[in-house]
């Protein structure tokens, strides 16, 4: 059986991350890859495709349910162990750090499975980095919008040029040891309150 193509199941509620993993697996030559986004009905899928390897988000609250299915699989004689090799501590730690858990059918040779788990780990990590960068970019954009609005308020209420309005914000931020976007937000809020007064 060792020569047969491995059947791989990816369970991830995050569709984008699941796609990234699937692409990685296909690029590595794996053709029997099944991706599901929700846990409901997963029992039937496991029965149908008989996965050799299951990759799932470590934080998925349904992992307890998934593992109970493996215990039930005592009867179908498909014992499933977690991770490539229980003695491969570095690999296990890397997986937990990355937020991946992988379940592997007992008896599969380590050299066949390790690349799959390693790939899942690196793609999970890449996805986290991407999410963080995206979040940073979004925050930067929002901060710039805040500063623009605060500048407009200052230009209107105090008749300042755009450059002077910006300098005023920056000076206030430096004096109070706060971020310009924080100062801008306070100013917008204060202006809102003042306008709201009868």
């Amino acid at each position: 059986m060792n020569d047969a193509a491995l059947s791989i199941l990816v369970i991830d509620e995050n569709a984008i991350r699941a796609q990234i993993i699937e692409e990685g697996l296909r690029a590595a030559g794996h053709e029997r890859v099944t991706v599901v986004h929700e846990i409901q009905g997963v029992a039937r899928i496991v029965e149908r495709i008989a996965p050799d390897v299951i990759v799932i988000d470590l934080e998925n609250p349904n992992r307890d349910m998934l593992e109970s299915m493996f215990l039930l699989s005592r009867s179908v004689r498909r014992p499933i162990a977690m991770f490539v090799d229980r003695s491969d501590r570095a690999s296990i730690e890397a997986a937990v750090e990355a937020g991946v858990s992988a379940y592997v059918v007992d008896g599969l040779r380590q050299e066949r499975v390790k690349p799959i788990v390693d790939m899942a780990i690196s793609r999970f990590n890449a996805f986290s980095r991407m999410t963080q960068e995206l979040e940073a970019a979004r925050t930067a954009l929002e901060n710039r919008k805040l500063v623009d609005r605060a500048k407009a308020i200052l230009m209107k209420s105090r008749g300042l040029s755009e450059d002077d309005a910006y300098r005023l914000l920056r000076t206030a931020a430096m004096k109070q040891n706060r971020k310009i976007s924080d100062i801008a937000q306070s100013l917008i809020m204060a202006a809102g309150l003042l306008e709201g007064e009868p």
């Binding site: 998925n60 609250p61 992992r63 307890d64 349910m65 593992e67 215990l71 937990v96």
Partner: protein
């Protein structure tokens, strides 16, 4: 004084995380010079994995988990010890409105008596079989949980085979009320506040209680990484002292409102849902209340003592339901997963009542009974199983043989 290390402790947001959460939030850990970082975990599997790789040093966990871990029954098994328990009771069995109606017709009564409800359930199971209806499906929170084992014990004692007459599935506790409302399950056994939450949303009725199936029965423990415990004995003792003080604080009814508010943040439900389990004033159905004085105990009846007889009872049930094979060496591993010696070492200085024995005969006490204890007086019990059977840990082989010989396991 030596510098205490930072300690990372995991928990799953449930009513019975009360002792741990309040130990940190009310400053009991800080008074011990500890810096505890609580980590809220999405599943028991996650708790176990993080302990295995050293991401966590200890965690609030299901009482059978350290035993299962040490027996190597998990895909990834850390070596764990349970030096303190996190209370007694706190679970219930909740059923759908439809099943509640069937049970009422089968004379289940309104007192949640485990025997009477069980007889009624057996009749319902029988009638469904005769009518060609699918078996009832029950949710539990984890395979190696007190919920799974107490539900199975109750069903089997009522003549219902938990493996063939009904179906038992695992679901995350917060999903139980929704699954019940949608008809994915007909009932569930879970900790609070999820029974009260199901009743509140009109999805079901509480049918019986853990405290009625087995009075004063174990539920959660603090599972500690054994390597960490060996390297940090002083910190471990300090954690136990903080948890013990927190357990007394949680057991004082005057603190229940504050505790309910404190937990509501972690658990994500409104305080009044948590207050039900803390006070024992349960809404068992909409508009129907029942006061249960020993629903969830943290301070009395040695509620934090890690009885090795509890560990051995769980072991007997793991063997009974084929989660592991019986062997004398396995019995020792299961028993020694619970560490009353560490409990005594840590709490002696607090004047806490310290039972002289490590094991007790479960089901021997039919009423509150003063027992031998060091430091201060201790009253134990009642601690009986609803069917009147007794578990004597010294006779565990006979107990398992008798259960293996019942009508299901041949």
């Amino acid at each position: 004084m030596s510098v205490m290390p930072d300690i990372r402790i995991g928990f799953v947001p449930l009513l019975d995380s009360a002792i741990l959460v309040s130990a940190v939030e009310k400053g009991f850990t800080r008074q011990e010079g500890l810096n505890v970082i609580l980590s809220r975990e999405p599943s028991w599997s996650s708790v176990r994995d993080r302990l295995a790789v050293g991401n966590l040093d200890a965690a609030h966990m299901l009482a059978p988990m350290p035993i299962a871990a040490n027996l190597g029954l998990f895909p990834l098994s850390p070596t764990l010890i349970a030096p303190i328990a996190m209370g007694l009771g706190g679970n219930a069995v909740t059923v759908s409105n439809a099943l509640a109606q069937d049970l009422a017709q089968a004379n289940a009564g309104e007192t949640l008596d485990a025997g009477q409800v069980g007889v009624a359930l057996q009749r319902v199971v029988e009638m469904r079989r005769e009518s060609g209806l699918p078996p009832l499906r029950f949710g539990v929170v984890y395979s190696f949980s007190s919920h799974n084992f107490e539900l199975r014990y109750w069903l089997a004692a009522c003549g219902i085979d938990p493996d063939t007459d009904v179906e038992i599935v695992v679901l995350p506790p917060p999903h139980m009320p929704q699954a019940l409302a949608e008809g994915q399950i007909d009932g569930f056994c879970a900790g609070e506040p999820w029974n009260s939450a199901a009743v509140q949303r009109g999805a079901g009725h509480i049918a019986t209680l853990k405290a009625h199936i087995w009075r004063s029965s174990p539920e959660k423990v603090l599972g500690v990484s054994q390597p960490w415990a060996e390297q940090n004995p002083q910190a471990l003792d300090a954690v136990l002292r903080a948890l013990y003080r927190a357990a007394l604080w949680c057991g004082d009814a005057a603190n229940h409102m504050e505790l309910a508010h404190l937990l509501s943040v972690a658990v994500g439900v409104e305080p009044k849902l948590l207050l039900a389990g803390l006070s024992g004033a349960l809404h068992i159905a909409q508009g129907q209340r029942l006061q249960v004085d020993d629903f969830f105990l943290t301070a009395t009846r040695a509620a934090t003592f890690p009885w090795q007889s509890h560990a051995l009872w769980f072991y007997s049930q793991m063997v009974r339901w084929c989660y592991c094979r019986h062997a004398p060496e396995q019995v020792r591993i299961a028993r020694d997963s619970y560490r009353p010696d560490i409990y005594r070492r840590a709490l002696r200085s607090l004047g806490a009542p310290l039972p002289g024995a490590n094991l007790k005969v479960e089901g021997a006490l039919v009423m509150p009974t003063p027992v031998g204890a060091a430091n201060s007086a201790l009253v134990l019990g009642p601690d009986g199983f609803f069917d009147g059977h007794i578990f004597d840990p010294d006779q565990i082989e006979d107990y398992m043989r008798a259960q293996a010989g019942d009508l299901f396991r041949n």
